[in-house]
Amino acid sequence: MSGNSVIEMVDVRRYFIVGDFVVKALDGITMDIRQGEFVSIMGPSGSGKSTMMNMIGCLDRPTSGIIRIDGTNTTEFSERDLAYVRNEKIGFVFQQFNLLGKLSALDNVMTPLLYARISPRERKEIAIEALERVGLGERMKHRPNELSGGQKQRVAIARALVNNPSLILADEPTGALDTKTGNQIMELFEQLNAEGRTIVLVTHNRELGMACRRQILIRDGRLED
């Protein structure tokens, strides 16, 4: 757990102006996630954990403060550079899976590679490998609506893995699944972590959060000890 820093935040603030009020979604966050960690970010709704996730995922920029990803300061990055960072460094896993409904499982997993401008043949090879890794080698040609919830989430995880990102960012990944399937997904995350992958799990579920090696608690835009 003493690897290089994957995500580093220094006094990150994110303010939203809503009418006449300033909402301080993040109000001075300083933290550090290192390579190989399995971290949960926990907090009640409205605590700022979604904003925190958007910051880590490079979907949003801070009002002030510095965010470094793999040591690179992304704070001043353009929209296009942030897209490249999302593509290369981050693997997203969503509560609602967010698979592209018209595409097969394989095509879904290939999509990040498409934006990485990888050749079609290589794309296919890497995507098949990722699908086999999550145990879905048999159902590559199926569309999302032909898959169970657990299978969908496995496709989504394969899609998150496929670009070999610096960290996997999972937002309530078991939230839409029954307990048993949810546990299987958690097991998969643990295996991936054991293989050396850095995993950040955002959840309001205390039990799930405590299952991770480290917890980052957030409340009212600040870290709790």
């Binding site: 296009r80 897209a83 498409l114």
Partner: protein, 393 residues
Amino acid sequence: MIWENIKLAFSSMKVNKMRTLLSLLGIIIGVGAVVAILTLGNSATASISSSISAGGLEMVSIFPASGQKSSETFDEQFCETLKSSVDGIDFVLPVNTGTSKLRNGQKTTNAQISGVPSNYAALLNYEAEAGSFFSQNDNLLKRQVCVLGSDIANELFPDGNAVGQYVSIFRTQAKSYQVVGVMKSKDPLLSIMFDNFVYIPYNTFTQRFRKVSMVGSYVVRTSDDADPIKVGDSITNYLNALVGKDAYDLFSPATLAEMSKSITSTFSNFLAAIAAISLLVGGIGIMNIMLVSVSERTREIGVRKALGATNRDIMGQFITEAVALTMVGGFFGIVVGTAISVAVTNLVSWTLHISYSSYIIAVGFSMIIGLFFGWYPARKAARLDPIESLNYE
């Protein structure tokens, strides 16, 4: 990337076929109309000029108008004068024509009586079915002989054997003419309906039939190596200088063909331009459906952005979709327009002349419309905020 975008475009078209078809209707109708109008214009031009050139593009006819100057100039000798004054003339024939009643026994009919020189038939490649055209002697001696066009012969002598018989031609009084020949049927030339004519020697006409002070008309054949339009123009210039333009009318199928060609093509281009306006309306339909598509797929756009799509990637995807959509519309439009052209040309029995340039115009226009009207929705998609899009229900 482009290939993936095209595949995506077609798969999203397939998802909602009916909606795709309806949104393409404007483009299909617009392209179909442009293709049909240009193809029909082409076919019309071709068939008009072929029917005019069947009338002898190499011929020019001159009709003197009544007036003192005309009657002084346009006599029989004028044929030679004209031929030697204007280059590119093969021959000039004087023709006098009047309408009369003809009778053979109980059968009567009305016919154009034409007084022509004896070489008339030979020069115009007008062949006899029976007997022969009258001779130079018949003309010189002003004999009362006649040659019948095939329709007239059929009317007056349905059983054939007209040669050697007599017909009465009425003017102030009936005169009897011996039939020396019956001609083969011949397609109209220079608006001369050969088959409905009765030919008598030129001199017989002027002396016996009607006293004429000037020639009714001249048939001019241009030389094979001369451009009939230019010869027609030279004749016009010559005559204008000689008698003024009010003293005669000139009829040149070549000039007419040229004119009608340019009129039909101007007209069909004009109509096609109007039809192209409906393409703009079709384009608005495309923009509408693309805007709907973008808002329906907000979440997809958010996901794609999270996976690393740049704004430009998203823009490319939706522009490609709009262009693919309009190109499909263009393709169906070409099919519809061609089908309409085939049906109409069959109906009015023109020869179909497919306007391949209209295909290129149609495809090009569809593409431009896709780019133009797809640009705004695609930009809207590209600029969506990824966080809001991901949370979009």
